[in-house]
Structure formats: C-alpha cells, structure tokens
C-alpha cells in the first residue's frame, strides 16, 4: 500500500498504526531471509514507540516507517556504506533529509543494502552479500540502491531513500517495478550523504508511485545552509496537484523526445516493451519528436572518468582510526596503518575505482582524461538543455533485463555498460524518473523520463499521468 493510503488509515488511530507496523515486520520476517534488502533492521518496539509518538503529536507523516540507504547518515544507527571499513561506524548526526523526515513524523525502520560506497549497478559489491530481486530471486535487483528498491517492491517498507550518482535510484526502481526519482542536483541536501562523486551525487526516492514521492519531497526539499550546493525548489502544494491527475481525473499531455542514440544497444525485447508503453502515451495525447545527439555515445566514459576522479579524492579520508575498523594502530607508522586499513577495509570494485581515479588525477594524465571528460560534460549540457526545454527525453531506464546473480559482476566494462541510459541526467544535473513500463519474460522494465533542471514539479506531474496511462504501478512481485 502506498504511503498516502497508509497515512489516511493510521492517522490518529493508534491501533491501526500498530497493526500496520506489525504487518511490516511480519513481511520482513517472512521475506528478508531470501531477499536481503536490509543491512540493519531496527527493533520493532523502538520503531513502534517512535511511530506512536509521531502519530499522537499529529505530525504530517503520522509515524510512517521509511527505509534508508546505508550511505545516508542516521544518528545512533550504524551507517556502513556496505563496506567493511565502516562496518562499526555510528554517525554522530542526522543527514539533513533524515532530520527533516523525522521532524515531519517519519520513523527510520532500517538501513538498506547497497553496492559498497554506491559503486556498482547490481548490489553485488556489498560487503554484506547481494540483495535479490523480488520478481526473481535468482536475479539482481539492480543497484546501487538495490536494497531500497527490494524493500519497497516487496512491501517491507512503504518508501525508501536511495542515492543516485549515475542511475543508482532509477536502475533498481526499473528492475523492481517501483517509482524512482533523482531530483535536480541540489534539490535535496547532500549534508550527511557519504560522498562518492560529489558533483554527481544526489539523494533520491524509491516509492510505489509518483504521488508518494511528491508527498515525501514536500517534507525533504529546501535550501540547507549545511550544503552550499543546495537549491530552493518550491514544492508546496505539489502533492495536492498530483492528486488531481489521473485515476479518472484530468490527464496531462506533454512532448516526449526520443534521442536515437539512447536506443542503440538496448536489448530488443526491452526496447519493444518500452516503445509499446510510449505508444499508449501517444494514443492518450502525448506528442513526440525524434532527434539525434551523437555525442551522447561519449557520456558513459566521461561519466566514469569524473566519478572515479572524485571518488579517489572523497575516499582518501578512510584510513584514520575513527571510522570503526578495529585495527590496532599502536605499533605502526601512519603510512603502514593507513594502507593496512584501506587494503583490509575496501572491496575490489572500490579499490579498482580509487586506483583509476588516482591515475586519472595524476600528473601527465589529468588533462588527457579528467579535463577531457569535463569538456564532454559541457558539450552534453549545451546539446541537451535546449531539447529539455521543449520536452522530456524518453528512453528505457535499463538497456537489459536484470542479470542473474554473478552474470555482470565479473566484467567491469559489462557492469558499467548497464548505466548507459542513466548517467546523462547526473552529468548535467537534470531530474529524471523511472516509471514501471511493462514486463519482459515476467521481469519488470522501466521507462526513463528526463526533465530540464528545476522542472521537478512538472516532471512529477507528468509521471503521475504517465503511470496512470500505463497502469502497471503498484504491482506485486512473485515473492510478495
């Protein structure tokens, strides 16, 4: 059941709230052993106590439980980034988005599994082992916010926070038939988000539908003095506006843009299913335009160069003895200790990315790789912004169906290629969503819509209309 429906039932009704929390924990008990969506699950009694208090105090979110990706700092709840290096780290403060959600009456139910430091697209690089897809437990749920998508898809939480550096919210949303939203860069404060690649990172939401995202966004957005890159997006009244769209009410009609290069290399049956969904929009009054942006073929290498460079710098801090990895520093020099902590604490994918980032930023290669990638970023922004002012770019969210466990992880280039559709919005700071679009071989596939920076409200309104026309949001997976 979506958040907006749950709130109507539990508001001011302690018994209904208790029954709801109990039902959530029953599902966790039944499904978590197989799906492994969480790294940390809070005790039911603690969650219940907080939820009842929020409900009694008539807070707007009425004690609704929310799951949080394990790279978003939660005071008093360990935050591991799915890494051995932070296995015992308990943050001394809340991320701004967490503080805002808590003060609106949401309760953190647990921390979700992810790729280590958000570096991956399948949740298989987690130190705690992979999550599994509720639609087929032999397959990955996508990543890096895989755990968040798993718990929402399988009703172990009604909504979850994720983070999206190159698609990490939209990818698992596509693979689990959930709604995934990456805001315009800066709409949600990054204060307390453990950094991977700061110029690309953005906190996002995984929910059952666009309406829930609008509801939660109203309580999370807004400028934050702790994050100088945060921006003030006016979101008040957004939820109310979305409620008036779809479900027999009015529909929007917008222009969708098909960029030919974004359909190259997409698995044939995935492309066909997403195009079928687009055809339905066409019969409902949406208009289309086809265009070509050849430079988009260079988005993926440019993205990975920038991400690795920023990662090697951001992750340089891990090595000092305050993050919880218990290695005795007393008989070692700094350099030995620092290298020992990092070598034991980081997994292979993280090491690979740090090493590549160090290489890219080193003298002699900085211009050749890093600066060149930043130039491509500008070219892409200059080419895309005029198009995004005319309409929303529509593409499949993922180029392939969810791989089986172990299928993509062994070859890094194959793993990186999964992000080919999703990196573009991060490079230019634009908002983007995944909307469930259909099924191929009983596995979910998603439609990605990209909007112009700061057009998040319009993008969410269109999403609400699109999901109503396509009509498969809120479906229940096999294991549910």
């Amino acid at each position: 059941m979506p958040v907006h429906d749950v709130i109507e039932i539990i508001r001011g009704d302690r018994r209904a709230l208790e029954e709801y929390i109990y039902s959530i924990y029953d599902r966790i008990e039944r499904l978590e052993k197989t799906l492994r969506g969480f790294i940390t699950i809070r005790k039911r009694e603690d969650v219940l106590e907080e939820a009842v208090r929020a409900n009694m105090e008539e807070k707007p979110l009425a004690g609704i439980p929310i799951a949080v990706k394990d790279n978003i700092s939660t005071m008093g709840i360990r935050t591991t980034c799915a890494s051995a290096i932070l296995e015992n780290y308990v943050p001394p403060y809340d991320a701004t988005v967490i503080a805002r959600l808590r003060s609106a009456g949401a309760v953190i139910i647990g921390k979700t599994n992810m790729d280590e430091f958000a570096m991956g697209s399948t949740t298989e690089t987690s130190h705690f082992g992979p999550s599994r897809n509720p639609w087929d437990p032999d397959r990955v749920p996508g990543g890096s916010s895989g755990g968040s998508a798993v718990v929402v898809s399988s009703y172990m939480a009604p909504a979850a926070l994720g983070s999206d550096t190159g698609g990490s919210v939209r990818n698992p949303a596509a693979y689990t038939a959930t709604f995934g939203y990456k805001p315009t860069y800066g709409v949600l404060s990054r204060y307390g988000l453990i950094a991977y690649a700061s110029s690309l990172d953005q906190i996002g939401l995984i929910t059952r539908d666009a309406l829930d995202t609008a509801l939660l966004l109203e309580h999370m957005a807004g400028e934050d003095p702790m994050d100088p890159t945060s921006v003030d997006l006016k979101v008040s009244g957004l939820y109310r506006r979305l409620r008036d769209i779809g479900a027999g009410r009015s529909h929007l009609s917008a222009r969708l843009v098909i960029v030919r290069e974004m359909w190259e290399g997409v698995e044939e049956n995935v492309a066909r299913e997403v195009m079928r969904a687009i055809d339905r929009l066409s019969s409902s009054g949406y208009t289309f335009e086809e265009t070509s942006i050849p430079e988009i073929r260079y988005a993926l290498p440019a993205y990975y160069i920038i991400a690795f460079a920023e990662a090697s710098s951001n992750l340089a801090r891990y090595g000092i003895p305050i993050y919880g990895l218990k290695i005795n520093p007393e008989n070692m020099g700094w350099e030995d200790y620092y290298s020992e902590v990092r070598s034991r604490g980081f997994g292979r994918e993280v090491k690979r990315r740090i090493m590549l980032g160090s290489y890219i930023l080193s003298a002699g290669y900085y211009e050749q790789y890093y600066i060149k990638a930043l130039k491509v970023r500008r070219v892409l922004r200059d080419r895309l912004l005029p198009i995004l002012r005319r309409g929303y770019i529509a593409s499949p969210t993922m180029p392939i169906k969810p791989p089986r466990l172990g299928e993509a992880i062994e070859d890094p280039l194959r793993l990186y290629a999964m992000d080919i559709e999703t990196v573009v919005p991060n490079l230019i700071g634009a908002p983007a969503v995944n909307i469930p679009a259909g099924f191929v071989d009983s596995l979910p596939v998603g439609l990605q819509l990209i909007g112009a920076p700061m057009s998040d409200q319009d993008l969410l309104e269109v999403s609400r209309s699109v999901e109503d026309i396509i009509g498969i949001s809120n479906t229940t997976p096999k294991t549910g």
């Binding site: 943050p91 020099g333 700094w334 070598s343 090493m355 060149k372 130039k375 890094p412 280039l413």
Partner: protein, 95 residues
Amino acid sequence: MERLERLAMLRLEEDERMTIYRDIERILAFFKQLDELDLGGVEPLFHVTEKEAGVGDDIEVRSMDRVWLEASAYRVQDGFVVGPRTIRGEEDSRS
C-alpha cells in the same frame, strides 16, 4: 602498479594486483574513446551548479557530542583518539 598503489594508499595481494591491472588496462582503453571528439575551444564543466559559494551567517550551534565521536575510534586515551606513531622510535629508524 606499484606507483598507483602508493598514490591510492593501497596494498594489493598478488592475485588481486593481476586482476585489477588487467581491468585497469581495459578500462583506460575504453576511456580513450573520448579522443575521437574535437573538443577545441570547449571549457571544462567542473560543476553543474551555477550558485556562487557565499559566506554563511555566524550562528551558534551545538557541536557534536564527544561520546559519539569517540565511539567509532579504535581506542581513546585521555580524551584523544589513539593513532599510529607520527615520529618513528629509535628501533624503527635503525631497521
């Protein structure tokens, strides 16, 4: 690879070193695609935000509780986090 390990402050096991070395070569070849583009006259775009970083107001805020900060440390002594030695002892410098 040794230089990279030093730069990244990582020490790899032999088999891990071989695998990562092979991967790095392939990934760098993939990055080389960007050479196909003519980027003359294009300025690099470091950041998408156009916001100028301003100076914040002086506001008194509560700092973090020391107990929390110390909780994740390996060992705390007299209110300080114990770290590795900064100056090498006599024995170390002889070896």
